[in-house]
């Protein structure tokens, strides 16, 4: 007479198979291939539909997706594929790590075998940070301010003043480029003041003010155009990426002695 557990229920068998599929490295290989193919299709398609994809970075990704993600399914199909492959890769990574960690903790194991799973966890944290930034980030593009004038900064309630603009050619050896001195106000109270230039934004309350373009108005007054962005999950993404790098480097050390 066979024991009852020798015949697991249909539900358990399905669950077991789904778990096996999601935790499998073979699934990882196929999902990665799907990601690469969808991404390659997207790289080509984006340039052909500038009206559709040209403003993807003008706002938080979730806002763009809500506006344009379902407008034209054919040229955006690569994006559905890319997002689906990414989501399944995240599930695959989580299941793989959970599956292996249970086995690892049941027996004695070298600490080095944990490192790939630290990298998996860090990868998942980066993906979650990207998701959070896409949902809760804020991007205010094209804040254009002539010198000495003010411009409202989206829905923040702030006003940006361009105090001074130096847009001359960079000095040899000191390629700092154009520099915009700005002051950020709420009503008449100054909140922050600084010089914005390439690679040097002004940060205030989680927002960064970035110099994007500059020129001269038809009346001869210099003006500058700023993007104002906030990504609440960026520090978390950086911390996770640093953790990934540290685990990756530690993984290399023994591999130099005993092969990768």
């Amino acid at each position: 007479m066979p024991r009852p557990e020798a015949y697991p229920s249909l539900g358990r068998r399905i669950l077991h198979r789904v778990w096996g599929f999601l935790a499998s490295i073979e699934t990882c290989a196929w999902l990665s291939l799907a990601f690469c193919l969808a991404g390659a299709a997207g790289s080509v398609t984006m340039g052909r539909y500038p009206g559709l994809f040209g403003d993807m970075d003008a706002g938080a990704f979730a806002d763009w997706f809500a506006r344009k993600g379902f407008l034209d399914p054919a040229p955006t199909s690569w994006l559905y594929g890319l997002l689906l492959a990414t989501a399944l890769l995240a599930a695959n990574t989580a299941c793989c790590t959970a599956d292996r960690l249970v086995r690892l903790f049941r027996g004695a194991f070298p600490a080095r075998r944990l490192l790939p799973h630290v990298m998996h966890a860090a990868f998942l944290c980066v993906l979650l940070a990207c998701l959070a930034g896409s949902l809760y980030g804020d991007r205010i593009p094209g804040v254009s301010v002539p010198r000495g004038m003010f411009a409202p900064v989206g829905g923040t309630g702030w006003v940006l003043r361009l105090d001074r603009f130096e847009g001359g050619p960079p000095l040899p050896g000191y390629p700092m480029g154009p520099a915009a001195s700005v002051t950020l106000f709420r009503d008449t109270t100054p909140l922050a003041r600084g010089v914005v230039r390439a690679n040097a934004p002004l940060f205030h309350a989680g927002y960064g003010i970035y110099l994007k373009k500059y020129g001269t108005t038809r009346w001869g007054v210099p003006y500058a155009v700023f993007d104002v962005n906030r990504d609440p999950a960026a520090p978390a993404a950086l911390a996770a990426a640093l953790l990934f790098t540290a685990a990756n480097l530690l993984y290399l050390i023994p591999s130099r002695r005993s092969d990768a």
Binding site: C28, M176, N199
Partner: protein
């Protein structure tokens, strides 16, 4: 000073060419420090160091400098991975793969270029340097993967595995530095352009490749044998070509300054 650095460039080119010719005619079986490739890499390092000093920034701006640094990274990867007699068979393709970008660079304008303000940051050297080092290891993967497919050999297989792992590590470092730089330059560590998507493709491809060795061999398609893994390692070079020169030259890119 400018003439000296160009002389070093041409001498390293000559050394790489000598290495490739000697390998192709079967006149050399030396490895490591006894090869013209090693001498070429030393001369090449001297050229890059001198140019860095003259320009005041990392010599990685423009197509000429990108190609010659890529060639140098290929040479470094080859010397690190093919350092013993057991992997000697991969030196022939590797010497050609080192020579090709250097030869392409030799055809281009070699004038010193001032750095645009956008590139004037330490993240530029780290992002581009790590990325090109990753590409160098991935290129070594083509030589090693190809040789394994033709002749087999466990040392070649292990060296090819290292090429993927080391390249992935270097490329991940490049992505990290690029992400930090992008956050300071554009206000986001990720933007939707073909170059960024291409970088993600390279990263995911080689991340998956480092996992393949853990798959048990199976019968039936695709089998997940060492040959499949080595085929994917060699094919990684095509992915690199599509993203490194391909996207930058053929598509509108966020990396055009």
């Amino acid at each position: 000073m400018s003439a000296v650095q160009l002389l070093l460039f041409w001498m390293s080119f000559a050394a790489y060419a000598a290495e490739a010719v000697l390998r192709l005619v079967g006149a050399s079986r030396a490895t490591g420090g006894k090869t013209p490739l090693f001498a070429g890499a030393l001369l090449h390092a001297g050229f890059l160091g001198m140019r860095w000093g003259i320009e005041g920034h990392a010599p990685m701006a423009g197509l000429f400098e990108s190609l010659t640094v890529y060639s140098f990274c290929c040479a470094v990867a080859g010397l690190l991975l093919l350092g013993n007699a057991e992997t000697e068979s991969a030196w022939k393709p590797m010497s050609v793969l080192v020579l090709l970008p250097q030869a392409a660079a030799a055809l281009l304008d070699k004038r010193l270029v001032p750095l645009s303000p956008e590139l004037s940051t330490p993240w530029f050297a780290s992002h581009v340097g790590f990325s090109l080092l990753g590409y160098g290891f991935f290129t070594a993967g083509l030589a090693l993967g190809g040789v394994y497919l033709l002749r087999g050999g466990e040392p070649v297989y292990r060296a090819a595995g290292k090429s993927a792992l080391y390249g992935f590590t270097a490329f991940s470092g490049g992505m990290l530095c690029g992400g930090i730089w992008a956050y300071y330059a554009w206000g986001s560590y990720w933007i939707w352009t073909p170059k960024e998507i291409g970088s993600a493709i390279v990263w995911v491809y080689f991340a998956a490749l480092t996992h393949l060795k853990f798959l048990p061999s199976q019968t039936g398609w695709p089998g997940w044998t060492k040959r499949v893994e080595m085929g994917a390692t060699a094919a990684g070079y095509a992915v690199v070509l599509l993203v490194f020169p391909g996207v930058s030259l053929l598509l509108r890119s966020s990396h055009s300054f």
